[in-house]
């Protein structure tokens, strides 16, 4: 019975031997450097771009737009930013589902 119990400190030593994971876990604690904060900032930027595109569309609908191509360029930029967000979301979700499919 001692064998498996002694295997647990070995696993703990293995976990302690991975400083990158520990540092990443420690980096999750500050609000600015974590992955979640990074994703939040990106989503905020994309949201700002989408709101700007909405403002441009309102200006276009009301007729006071100076040049059309700037509106179209901004629309395309916001669309591409949103597609980037969707791809990041797809990757994160795929990784999560892969983890959920892991046999335990």
């Amino acid at each position: 019975m001692n064998g498996p119990i002694e295997g647990v400190p070995a696993l703990q030593g293995l976990a302690a031997g991975m400083p990158a994971t520990a540092q990443a876990a420690a980096a999750m604690q500050p609000a600015d450097t974590g992955f979640g904060a990074m994703v939040s900032r990106g989503i905020e930027q994309v949201n700002a771009q989408l709101l700007g595109a909405q403002t441009d569309l309102q200006a276009l609908a009301t007729g006071n737009v100076e040049n059309l191509h700037q509106v179209m360029v901004r629309l395309e930029e916001s669309r591409m930013s949103f597609q980037l967000v969707m791809q990041v979301r797809n990757r994160a979700l795929e990784a999560y589902q892969e983890l959920m499919r892991m046999q335990v």
Partner: protein, 142 residues
């Protein structure tokens, strides 16, 4: 994913071509507006586009293209077109009426060239967007 620069370059080109189209349309619209007896009236315009940035190293040419091109509108040259229209209220003593020095053929060629250049800018922007969308497919399913 800084595709904003390529978009801005294409947008700058579109703005220049739009200015050319506007000036050509203004010239055409005023081609048959008679000048006054003292020669005052519509002056034909032409667009002179200069590079917005000072000449720099090659690596900064992209930034130079990003600097808004200086599309200045200068008075056009050419001799005033005169037509013999006696009885016209604006005719001079010999019965000639002056019209702006607008060449409709030149303006139409300018319009055509501006339209093709605008389409080229749109095509360049679409290629940039297609590249970005293909980039987003990296690692994706299918």
């Amino acid at each position: 994913m800084d595709y904003g620069k390529a978009f801005a370059i294409s947008a700058a080109g579109m703005g220049v071509e739009r200015t050319r189209v506007e000036v050509a349309a203004a010239n055409l619209a005023n081609a048959n507006v008679a000048l006054g007896a003292d020669g005052q009236g519509y002056q034909p315009m032409r667009v002179v586009v200069r590079n917005g940035a000072a000449p720099a190293a090659f690596g900064r040419h992209v930034e130079g293209a990003l600097a808004a091109p200086l599309a200045s509108i200068v008075p056009g040259s050419g001799t005033v077109r005169t037509a013999f229209e006696p009885g016209h209220p604006l005719a001079d003593a010999r019965g000639f009426v002056s019209y702006p020095a607008v060449d409709p053929a030149t303006e139409m060629v300018t319009l055509m060239g501006a339209m093709r250049s605008y389409e080229a800018n749109v095509a360049a922007m679409n290629v940039t967007r297609a590249l970005a969308q293909k980039t987003l497919e990296i690692g994706g399913k299918s």
